[in-house]
């Protein structure tokens, strides 16, 4: 951390101005440009001095000697920290969001739309993730014999996600019903993880006095009817095409798109940075520390809550040059809406 405290009022103002003009134009910003746009009539020379200090402190970088300065990762962090966060969304934006998400009760579809809306409104990549892993709480299971050797297993979680699976198994419907009843009565509200532990304990213990019921349950269990592993996480990534303009280098662009295609990586990324406990929008600058292909990208995300449960997260990924204020407001707005809509349909 090179973050010494040489940040007086003037430094702060100039740094902010640099970040803002760089976000707006994309070109390195020089002292003269800055002097012109600055209210108080500071001369370029003065500004140069300040800029030199800021550069020493690690907030600014120079592509080359005679170019202007470019904000560093630190600079963005600082900039975001001192944002007021008071802005609100325009009427159109609000309307657009509401229209897109109106009247959907299916959680998956809702998530898909949400990622789409996030992408549209930020002009960047919109992402939604539902916790699908073992942490999820069970609401309901159901098994149905489909034909010879085939059983349909449906598993509904607290958050409203539905996971279905077709198993190769030959049990009469009666046994399936009994097994479902057993599980629903005993394990509603348990996390998948806890259920699996307890279940295998019981199966082990009662192995001697095996009855028909436990045998059905075991078969279903072995076939994965109750599994909710990583692969069953639900992830929607939308708007990757928006990144084409951002990354100049061909190869980098390709790697970046590849990374976004690997849903698993995305899940880990959000998981690592978005703390479920935190309430508000979180901004992560410097994603390349985790994923090298994500150079010059930032994550703006928030947990997705329904009531008190955290059911996943939603986020925007975009270039460091993103409009922070607007995106943060939008993410926060959508996160609240998410809760509101899904809650009332409950």
């Amino acid at each position: 951390m090179p973050a010494g405290p040489p940040i007086g009022e003037r430094e702060r103002e100039i740094l902010t101005a640099i970040v803002e003009t760089f976000i707006a134009t994309g070109d390195p910003v020089g002292s003269r440009t800055l002097a012109r746009s600055n209210k108080e009539g500071l001369s370029p020379a003065t500004i140069r001095n300040v800029m030199a200090d800021l550069a020493d402190a690690g907030f600014l970088e120079q592509p080359h000697t005679s170019a202007g300065r470019v904000p560093s990762t630190e600079a963005y962090r600082y900039y975001v920290e001192q944002l007021t966060g008071k802005a609100s969304l325009s009427q159109e934006d609000q309307g657009m969001i509401q229209d897109s998400l109106h009247g959907i009760s299916d959680v998956q579809e809702f998530m898909e739309r949400t990622s789409h809306v996030l992408s549209l409104i930020s002009h960047n990549v919109g992402i939604t993730v539902a916790i699908g892993g073992p942490k999820n709480a069970l609401e309901h299971v159901y098994f149905s014999r489909l034909g010879d050797q085939k059983v349909l297993a449906v598993l509904v979680t607290r958050s409203g996600l539905v996971r279905d699976r077709i198993l190769r198994l030959d049990l009469p419907q009666g046994d399936l019903d009994a097994a479902a009843r057993f599980i629903n009565e005993n394990f509603r509200g348990w996390t998948m993880e806890a259920m699996r532990v307890e279940l295998s304990r019981r199966l082990e213990q009662e192995r001697s006095e095996y009855d028909r019921l436990m045998s059905s349950v075991e078969q279903l269990y072995r076939q994965g009817a109750l599994t909710a592993d990583e692969s069953s996480q639900v992830v929607f990534v939308e708007g990757a095409s928006n990144l084409v303009n951002g990354e100049q280098d061909r190869q980098r662009l390709q790697q970046l798109l590849q990374t976004l295609e690997e849903k698993q990586k995305i899940v880990e990324l959000l998981g690592a940075y978005l703390d479920a406990k935190q309430e508000a929008v979180r901004v992560v600058i410097g994603l390349d520390e985790a994923l090298p292909s994500m150079r010059n990208l930032v994550l703006i995300g928030a947990p997705a809550r329904v009531g008190d449960d955290v059911m996943g997260s939603l986020a925007v990924i975009g270039p460091t040059r993103i409009d922070y204020q607007h995106t943060m407001t939008a993410v926060s707005y959508i996160a609240r809406l998410f809760d509101k809509i899904l809650n009332e349909s409950e």
Copy 2:
């Protein structure tokens, strides 16, 4: 159609050679290069004459005067037509495919993996689509009360796809069971379309003598429990990042990626070109006729069958410069495997 028949043996050979070297190198091919690689010692001059004829016939194009020739859309079509199709897949490829698809019984997961494999093996975009529309045949429905005002509806189709939905509805489980039994008994094997027609006819007709059963059915019906519209189509598109190298123009690339993100467009595309009746692999050259952003792309696809049922299609989208032989063999191989694996798990 400029397709006169000036295609003698020599023309054919030279055209093929041009297409092949262009596919291999990506550079416009000139008469000298061709003369060198050609077995029979034809001089560049002779070849030039032939090339001029081919250009007149619309098979070749010239980026500019002093560049070589580039195959036209027609040329690719012709080239693909006269491919023998005898090639077979390498051992590694076969192994890789088998490993990736081994031991999956869930149709959706299988489709996802398949699109992934298609993308890996072709180094291009892999696509799988399951017919989700009204043409789909019903296998089984199931309703379950989840809590106040919430009902889970699960709908299994012949092809093994599972469609679930959460409805806002307040019916006791008993009524739900009765409704499910009614539908399963009367409509198993019907297409969704036919079922809906018949159902609304009956509801209309028996309106006078409404009983409790029909009332439940109607409520479910109205809430969309039995709907399988376009939005419930299942589409997997994988490997879009592979196109980055193909399209040079920034803006075009972006439009292209955008198009691929619109799943609906993709479904229409496959639907328009892949005839369910046809057995074999189909190659469509000149996709821009349907979707302007798909300039210089081709589609290599086949219907996905399970037994006698067509349950969707699988395809590769790549540049006109794709390795046709290899991709066609791969698609065909995977299509057969698709049938085989899903059939035996039936």
